[in-house]
C-alpha cells in the first residue's frame, strides 16, 4: 500500500473514504459491471412501477399516470392467467426432470464406457445441438415434420401409413417440446455431471468392488450420492426460473400458430404478444411483475426449506 499512498489526497480522512481510496483500482475494475447491473437489472426493477401505471410513451415511465391495480384487473379478466401459469410451471418441471434424468444417466453410462475415443466422439456429438439457435432448430423441425415433404411423412407414407400434419395437431406438442428442449441442452448438462463423476475418489469404487458390490450397487451407493450436491444446485437454480419459460423455444417452434397455442402457450409468449400490441402494454407489465414475484417467492421458499432439511445443499 505504501507505494500507492504517495498520491493520496488529504481529504481521505473518514474511514470509508480511506478504504475506498486504498481500493480505488479494484473499485475501478468493478465499475463497468456495477454500472451494467445498475442499468440493465436494477433500473428495470424500479421500472416495475409501470405495472401500476397507464404507460404513455411520450410521458415515460415516471411521468405516466397511476392507475392502481387496473392492469392487474385486466390481466385477471383475460381469464388466461391460471392456464398460462400452469402451462409454464408444468413445462418447466418436465424440462427440469427429464433433462436431469437424461444428463445424470448419460454421464454415468459414458463414465463406465471403456473406449476413450468413443467417449470423446459421443460428447462432441451430444454438444452439437447446443451450438445452434432455436431458429435453426425450427428449420430442422420443418425438414422432419413438414406435411408435404418432411422426413417423417416420407417414412410414414413409404410404409403405407397415413401422413400426419403436426403443425395442425396440438396433441403431441407437449412431448415434442420436452424432447427438443432435452435434445438441445442435455449435452451441456452431461458434461457438468461427468466432471463431477470424474472427481469422485476411485478408491471408493475399488473398495466397494472388493467387497463384492455390483456395478448397479456402486452406482446407487457411491456415484449418485456423490452427484447429489451438484444435482441439488442445478435443481435449485432451475427452480428459481420455474415460472419463466424458455422464450426462444416457444417463440420459434410455436410462435403464433393458433392451432398449437392451446397446448403450448406460456406466460412469456403472452407477455411478448401483449407487449407487441402496444395497447396491452399495461397488462404485459402486470403479467411480468406477477411472473417475477412468483419466481422470487419460489426460490426463497425452496431454499429456506432445503436449508432446514439439508443445510449443505442450500444455495445461499
Amino acid at each position: 500500500m505504501d507505494g500507492l499512498s504517495a498520491g493520496a489526497p488529504r481529504r481521505a480522512r473518514s474511514p470509508f473514504a480511506k478504504t475506498a481510496w486504498n481500493n480505488r483500482y479494484l473499485l475501478l475494475m468493478l465499475l463497468p459491471a456495477i454500472l451494467y447491473v445498475v442499468v440493465f437489472s436494477y433500473l428495470p426493477m424500479a421500472g416495475i412501477v409501470v405495472a401500476f401505471k397507464n404507460f404513455n410513451y411520450q410521458k415515460g415511465i415516471f411521468g405516466s399516470d397511476w392507475v392502481g391495480l387496473k392492469n392487474f384487473r385486466f390481466l385477471l379478466m383475460s381469464n388466461k392467467l391460471w392456464f398460462l401459469t400452469r402451462n409454464t410451471l408444468l413445462y418447466n418441471l418436465a424440462f427440469i426432470s427429464v433433462g436431469m434424468a437424461l444428463e445424470v444417466g448419460f454421464a454415468i453410462v459414458i463414465n463406465e464406457l471403456a473406449s476413450k475415443r468413443f467417449k470423446r466422439l459421443f460428447q462432441s456429438f451430444m454438444f452439437l445441438p447446443y451450438f445452434i439457435s432455436w431458429v435453426v432448430v425450427a428449420a430442422i423441425l420443418q425438414a422432419v415434420f413438414s406435411y408435404e415433404y418432411g422426413l417423417l411423412n416420407g417414412l410414414l407414407s413409404s410404409v403405407g401409413a397415413g401422413r400426419v400434419n403436426l403443425y395442425a395437431d396440438a396433441g403431441p406438442w407437449p412431448y415434442l417440446l420436452v424432447a427438443f428442449r432435452a435434445w438441445k441442452t442435455v449435452g451441456y448438462g452431461t458434461v457438468v455431471y461427468l466432471a463431477t463423476i470424474t472427481g469422485i475418489d476411485p478408491e471408493l469404487h475399488e473398495a466397494a468392488s472388493i467387497d463384492g458390490a455390483s456395478l448397479i450397487q456402486r452406482i446407487r451407493r457411491i456415484t449418485l450420492p456423490c452427484l447429489a450436491p451438484t444435482m441439488a444446485i442445478m435443481f435449485l437454480l432451475a427452480l428459481g426460473q420455474v415460472f419463466r419459460g424458455d422464450f426462444g423455444l416457444f417463440y420459434q417452434l410455436i410462435g403464433n400458430n393458433a392451432l398449437l397455442l392451446p397446448k403450448a402457450d406460456i406466460l412469456d409468449l403472452f407477455i411478448y404478444r401483449a407487449l407487441s400490441s402496444t395497447s396491452d402494454l399495461g397488462m404485459a407489465s402486470a403479467a411480468g411483475l406477477y411472473q417475477s414475484v412468483l419466481c422470487f417467492a419460489t426460490i426463497m421458499a425452496v431454499n429456506a426449506l432445503i436449508k432446514k432439511l439439508q443445510p449443505d445443499y442450500s444455495l445461499f
Binding site: 479494484l26 445441438p129 422432419v144 420459434q252
Partner: protein, 318 residues
C-alpha cells in the same frame, strides 16, 4: 475398468465368496456396457443426423426434393439453393457483417468484464466483497421482467435500430462472472500479495500476472459469449426493424417465415407472382441454414477441447 474384476477375485475370504462376486460383477458390467454403447450410439446419431439432413438437402435440387421429400441422400446434386441465396447477397452480407462485428466486439468486452469483476470479488483483501457479490447475485433471483427492460432500452437508451442493441444486452452475465470468480480463486493469492509488496497497482497485477494464467477460462468465456452473440435473434426482434442492421439468425428466421407465408398464400389460392412460387423454397431454407450456422459449427471441432474443459471449471463451484 481393469481394477474391478481382479480385485474382486483377490478379495480376502472374510465370509464372502470372492470368485462368485467377481463373476457377477463381470456379467453385470458386460450387460451394462453393451446397453450403454447401444444407447449412446443411438442418441449420438439422433444428435448428428438432423445436421446431415439439412446439409444434404441444401445440395439437392428442388425438383428431386419435390419428388422424394427430405432424405439423407443426395438424389440430384445441385447448387441452385446457394446460387439463389447469393443472387442478391446484399442482405446476407449486411447480416453477416452485423453478427461478426457484434460477436467480436461483444465477446471481447464480455470476457474482459467477467474476468475483471471475478478477480476483484475473489480478492481476500477486498473489503465488503460479500456485499458486492450479493449485489450481483440478487439480479439472478429477481428481475424487472421484459416490459420495464424493453421500455428502458427502447425509450431511454435509444436502442431502436441502433447497433448497441446487438452488443449491450449480452455483454455481462452474472453466471460468467461466477465461473471467472471460482476459477481465479484457484490461483494462489501470494501472486497478488507479492506483487503488491513490490508496489504494483491492482490493474497492472490483473493484466500482467493474473490474465496470462487464465487462458482456459478466457477460452471458455469467450466461447460462451461468442455463441450467445452469434445465435442472437431476440434483440433484433425487440429493437431492430431496419434490414441493414439485423443479425444473422433473425435474418434466417425472417426468410424462413416469408417462404412459409408465401406457401400459405398459394395454398389458399391467392394469386402470387409465378416466378416467386417456382423458387426452390425448401432447399433455399436449408441452404440459408447452412450459410448462417456453418461458421459456428466449423469452429466447433477446434474449440471443443477448451469448451469441455471450461465447463468443468464452471462445474467446480467455489
Amino acid at each position: 475398468m481393469e481394477g474391478t474384476t481382479p480385485n474382486a477375485a483377490l478379495a480376502p475370504g472374510a465370509g464372502r465368496p470372492g470368485k462368485i462376486a467377481g463373476k457377477i460383477v463381470q456379467r453385470d458390467r458386460a450387460v451394462f456396457c453393451a446397453a450403454g454403447y447401444a444407447l449412446v450410439t443411438l442418441y449420438g446419431l439422433l444428435c448428428v443426423l438432423p445436421f446431415v439432413l439439412v446439409l444434404v438437402t441444401s445440395f439437392t435440387s428442388e425438383a428431386a426434393l419435390m419428388r422424394h421429400g427430405y432424405t439423407f441422400f443426395i438424389k440430384e446434386f445441385s447448387l441452385e439453393a446457394y446460387r439463389l441465396a447469393f443472387r442478391n447477397p446484399q442482405r446476407i452480407l449486411w447480416a453477416y457483417r452485423n453478427t461478426v462485428c457484434a460477436t467480436a466486439v461483444g465477446s471481447t468486452l464480455a470476457v474482459l468484464i467477467a474476468t475483471m469483476t471475478g478477480y476483484v470479488l475473489q480478492r481476500k483483501d477486498f473489503p465488503q466483497r460479500n456485499k458486492f457479490s450479493l449485489f450481483f447475485f440478487f439480479t439472478t433471483l429477481f428481475n424487472g421482467g421484459l416490459v420495464p427492460t424493453y421500455i428502458l432500452c427502447a425509450r431511454y437508451l435509444k436502442f431502436r435500430n441502433n447497433y448497441i442493441a446487438l452488443v449491450l444486452p449480452l455483454m455481462f452475465s452474472v453466471w460468467n462472472m461466477i465461473i471467472a470468480k471460482s476459477y481465479i480463486k484457484s490461483i494462489p493469492f501470494e501472486i497478488t500479495e507479492s506483487a503488491k509488496v513490490d508496489g504494483a497497482n491492482d490493474v497492472l497485477i490483473f493484466y500482467r500476472l493474473i490474465l496470462p494464467l487464465c487462458k482456459p477460462l478466457i477460452a471458455t468465456l469467450g466461447l460462451f459469449s461468442a455463441l450467445a452473440y452469434w445465435n442472437d435473434w431476440y434483440n433484433t426482434l425487440l429493437y431492430i426493424t431496419k434490414e441493414e442492421r439485423m443479425s444473422l439468425q433473425y435474418f434466417l428466421q425472417e426468410m424462413i417465415n416469408s417462404i412459409q407465408a408465401l406457401k400459405n398464400l398459394v395454398s389458399i389460392g391467392a394469386t402470387v407472382d409465378a416466378s416467386l412460387v417456382s423458387l426452390p423454397q425448401e432447399t433455399l431454407k436449408m441452404g440459408m441454414t447452412v450459410i448462417t450456422t456453418g461458421p459456428i459449427i466449423l469452429l466447433y471441432p477446434f474449440v471443443q477441447r477448451y469448451f469441455v474443459k471450461g465447463l468443468t471449471i464452471g462445474a467446480v463451484k467455489g
